[in-house]
Symmetry: C2
Subunit: 366 residues, 2 copies
């Protein structure tokens, strides 16, 4: 319980004060399990992309857990299960690199309403693909059949897919953005779609509000809604490990749940101005223009075309962009680091006709 | 996907040949993610209690994943959430020690239908308790709100609770029962109830077949059915680490899903005769006597009063029993190792009026 910010609480409309009290109790309690020194020492606090447990010899074991969320329902709608495993791996390994770690190994956890060997076989295709892309092994996992706990799009189809990943990092190479400084440059690595966040809202917009089905064709997508939403999440391990190995970055930011608010997770007391963002991908434009989702909201939920932010000294920005491009990903400078702690300012472009600034929880017009 | 025997397939009544073909494809595919040498090498095959990934310096990282299954529904029925976290930890750490590892750290994964901070707070009490009992930290985890994927006993109550655990073991101290030999003695450490396996069948028997509710009092239990089923799983880490440290065991067997068939998971080509089992706990007796579950079936599903088997040379049996008792657990010699590979023979006692022998998948009268 340690990506344990209060996202889920807010999404649920839970009383925030009550939720934050509970969260404080939970994290305080769990911290009592942390050895204070020696092997086993827990190196980071809750709220980072992953935590790090001290091993012998100055090594750290990075550890995190994440799942595909309700993207599983999209796979069910399309009857297509061979890529969702990529999302499962991506959600974990893209977090691991953001503490400076290299993926080592992950175990999957598949909870199913009813066991369908063919579906499990298909899921393993994506898991394997994602693991190979990440340089991580899958040495084990768990399949649990749980009718009454797991449900799905239609009776019998339900499944949940999560994983827990480990990585290695020398303790003196842990990077949680402590050295990020005003004047640093943010290089944005392109996303390839909605990835695996905010799928509950996306499903509401496309299927409930707009009355579409997974098969509905959208010209801007060049394919169906379902195919667009199921596009497997980019894995950013290659370029992230490159820039870590070459000591080119001061911080790494996976733009995952909470969108650009993730930038404020760097350890250093800094802010950001993003003034050269790439064009907003069609999936988000349609959610705003046809679905009526306030544009400002989108920046606090989705990747908006940038799946990973690599923060670098200005003189290294070109090298970082070039490395990412050499890995086949779109990349460009998207902004700079400022001295305004906790603030992310998104300046107007064709999509956002006013500047947006975050108040720590959401984006609003400046 | 690596506890990946075909349990789930069988439980679902899935075509076994089809399932085994799929399982073969899955494990073959996942093995392609395993580096052949160097750090990251995967040391064991699928099907062990945990796998082991090679770290630097001759160290191994043991890794596994497991959850509480449908025991989550019992917690919902009772509105009692402060012990289910113990089960979650137990299911993982009791597996870890069975490859010779000491628990290091685990991350929880809680998927909820709707976020209830109070319930999450209660769940964290058990997680913390289990972690402290195991000497493991909980440095992080994930809470995912997934309406449409998670369901429960009543609307809004649904949750799933799982974890991934890591442990450490010197590569030359890995123990998967390769040295178990005919003549070795099996010491059984007592269970404290049904633990966290076979809960779907138990719910069917008590609630569907016998028409009871969670509140139904059963004299033999001295409490309600719900309280009996929710009893948190014993954690066997203390005594297991003791006997590993003192080099007193040739194998360790967590009696988890598939009950006494777990004994056949030792690496050595041996069998077992269990002729001095403890009395069968009331929860299983009631399932047989009132619920009509064939007694032979129970041995292939449940712990039947023995949660952990420690296999030892005869001259060390007394020391193993004494160590377990010093940790506050009931313990006694329950049988011996034979030269009949893959066979578990349970000789008649008051509960099983005929001898039982397994055919690799089930128990039947001898």
């Amino acid at each position: 319980m340690a990506d344990e910010n209060s996202d889920a609480y807010q999404a649920a409309g839970v009383d925030v004060a009550q939720a934050e009290n509970a969260l404080t109790r939970i994290t305080k309690r769990l911290r009592t399990t942390w050895p204070e020194s020696g092997p086993g020492r827990v190196a980071l606090d809750f709220g980072k992309y992953a935590n790090i447990v001290e091993l012998a010899g100055g090594q750290g074991l990075a550890i995190c857990a994440d799942g595909v969320g309700t993207k599983a329902l999209i796979a069910q709608m399309l009857g297509k299960y061979d890529t969702i495993g990529i999302d499962c791996v991506a959600m974990n390994v893209n977090d691991l690199v953001c503490v400076g770690a290299k993926p080592l190994s992950l175990v999957d956890y598949i909870a199913v309403e009813r066991t369908d060997p063919t579906v499990l076989d298909q899921i393993s295709i994506g898991l394997t693909d994602g693991a190979v892309q990440s340089g991580a092994s899958i040495p084990g996992g768990e399949i649990a059949e749980m009718p009454g706990v797991i449900t799905g799009w239609k009776p019998g189809l339900g499944f949940d897919l999560a994983a827990m990943a480990t990585g290695t990092v020398a303790l003196d190479a842990v990077n949680v953005g402590a050295d990020v400084a005003p004047g640093d440059v943010v290089v944005g690595i392109g996303s390839n779609g909605i990835h695996s966040n905010g799928m509950t809202l996306a499903r509401k917009v496309f299927f409930d509000d707009l009355g579409m089905t997974a098969d509905s064709q959208i010209a801007d997508f060049g394919r169906s809604v379902g195919e667009e939403l199921l596009e497997p999440t980019f894995i950013y391990v290659g370029e992230s490990v490159d820039v870590l190995d070459q000591n080119l970055v001061t911080g790494l930011i996976h733009i995952t749940g909470e969108g650009f608010l993730n930038l404020t997770r760097v350890e250093a007391p800094v802010g950001f101005v993003l003034d050269t963002l790439p064009d907003v991908p069609a999936v988000f434009r349609v959610m705003a223009d046809q679905g009526g989702v306030p544009r400002s909201d989108l920046y606090g939920i989705y990747n908006m075309g940038v799946g990973m932010g690599l923060i670098t000294r200005p003189e290294n920005a070109d090298a970082v962009v070039a490395l990412a491009k050499s890995r086949g990903k779109p990349a460009q400078v998207i902004g700079t680091v400022t001295a305004e702690p906790g603030t992310v300012r998104i300046t107007s472009n064709a999509f956002t006709p006013v500047d947006l600034v975050n108040d720590g929880k959401t984006f609003r017009p400046a």
